[in-house]
């Protein structure tokens, strides 16, 4: 168990540490800075895209993914409008639970 934790520590730490050290120490060109400006949002947009669509590629269960679709879309829009993580997250989560319950109510959960 200790070996597993040590290996997992190394696997995550190396990936996190060296880019942080390197890019903290050198000045980077403007062009790269512009690119980096878009990286964070591209990471999260891609991550959400992957979480939402990956299950559908293997099994197109659109209704089963509906709660997640609705709540993520609402959360993104709310976060843009309110600029608040806490508000958008909590409303998004309540919406997820509500849509899930609604679907369970409308039809037996065959998905």
């Amino acid at each position: 168990m200790k070996a597993i934790i040590l290996m997992m520590f190394l696997a995550t730490f190396l990936v996190r540490f060296f880019p942080l050290l390197f890019f903290n120490r050198i000045a980077i060109p403007d062009r790269l800075k512009e690119w980096l400006h878009f990286v964070p949002m591209a990471i999260f947009a891609g991550l959400i895209g992957q979480i939402l669509f990956e299950p559908l590629v293997y099994f197109p269960n659109w209704i089963g993914q509906m709660p997640l679709f609705v709540s993520s879309a609402a959360t993104i829009l709310l976060a843009i409008k309110t600029r608040s993580l806490a508000i958008s997250m909590s409303i998004g989560w309540v919406l997820f639970i509500a849509v899930t319950k609604l679907l369970d109510f409308l039809a037996p959960p065959i998905w």
Binding site: F23, A42, I43, A45, I51, T100
Partner: protein, 228 residues
């Protein structure tokens, strides 16, 4: 004295800025603790993983692999691949962060997760090391305490994780939204999501969104030129 006060202010500000993460981490680390004990890990092993690995998705997948008796190397490779995205995040964080000492960087690197990164990167630049320390330390503690609580209380709880699992994508959605300020940001995000969707049909694993997050920002640079 002035320096000390500055340290406290920035640090405390960072602690408060971690509050949305603390909520999300409790809700995620408690199920992790419960699951870990269910899979046969000890309290120490579960907490140890949360202290030294501190990577949500990788920890959950490691539990599955441990249950399958997958062995050391598959777990190493899985952890490495799942967290490759942190390479980009650390790179971007390193550029926005004030030049600082190595021991700071070691801890900031270890605690650079999707969530702390998302909260830190939208702060005013240049980022202050003490401020990040406040946010990251608070988040790390929430993750560890939640794991321990889950591991302790787990055996006594009837537990369904259905609603809690959704918190992760919803938090990512909130983190995305707070970064979108103008039309170009919207375009970059949309492009990355679309690219991920297309790539999902041709490749497996985490590659689709990793490639999309490299390519979409590059495309944005191209799109900018003709307008000037």
């Amino acid at each position: 004295m002035a320096v000390e006060k500055n340290f406290q202010n920035e640090f405390l500000r960072g602690v408060f800025q971690a509050s949305p993460i603390v909520i999300a981490y409790f809700v995620l680390s408690i199920p992790f603790g419960i699951l870990a004990v269910k899979m046969g890990l000890s309290l120490a092993a579960a907490a140890g993983m949360s202290i030294f690995v501190f990577a949500g998705a990788a920890q959950f997948i490691a539990l599955q692999l441990i249950a399958d008796n997958a062995g050391l190397w598959p777990i190493f490779v899985a952890t490495f691949v799942i967290n490759l995205r942190h390479f980009l995040m650390s790179m971007s964080l390193g550029c926005s962060l004030e030049k600082c000492r190595k021991r700071f960087l070691i801890y900031l690197a270890h605690t650079n997760t999707d969530e702390t990164y998302g909260v830190n990167i939208i702060k005013e630049k240049p980022l202050h090391p003490n401020n990040l320390l406040g946010t990251n330390l608070t988040s790390h503690l929430a993750w560890i305490v939640g794991t321990a609580l889950g591991a302790l209380a787990g055996p006594f709880l009837p537990w369904s994780t259905k609603y809690f699992e959704a918190l992760l994508p919803i938090m990512f959605a909130a983190l995305l939204g707070t970064q979108i300020i103008n039309k170009k940001d919207t375009a970059a995000s949309f492009l990355s999501g679309l690219l991920t969707l297309i790539l999902l049909f041709v490749m497996k694993g985490r590659w689709p969104f990793l490639i999309a997050s490299l390519v979409a920002p590059a495309v944005m640079l191209f799109l900018k030129e003709p307008k000037k």
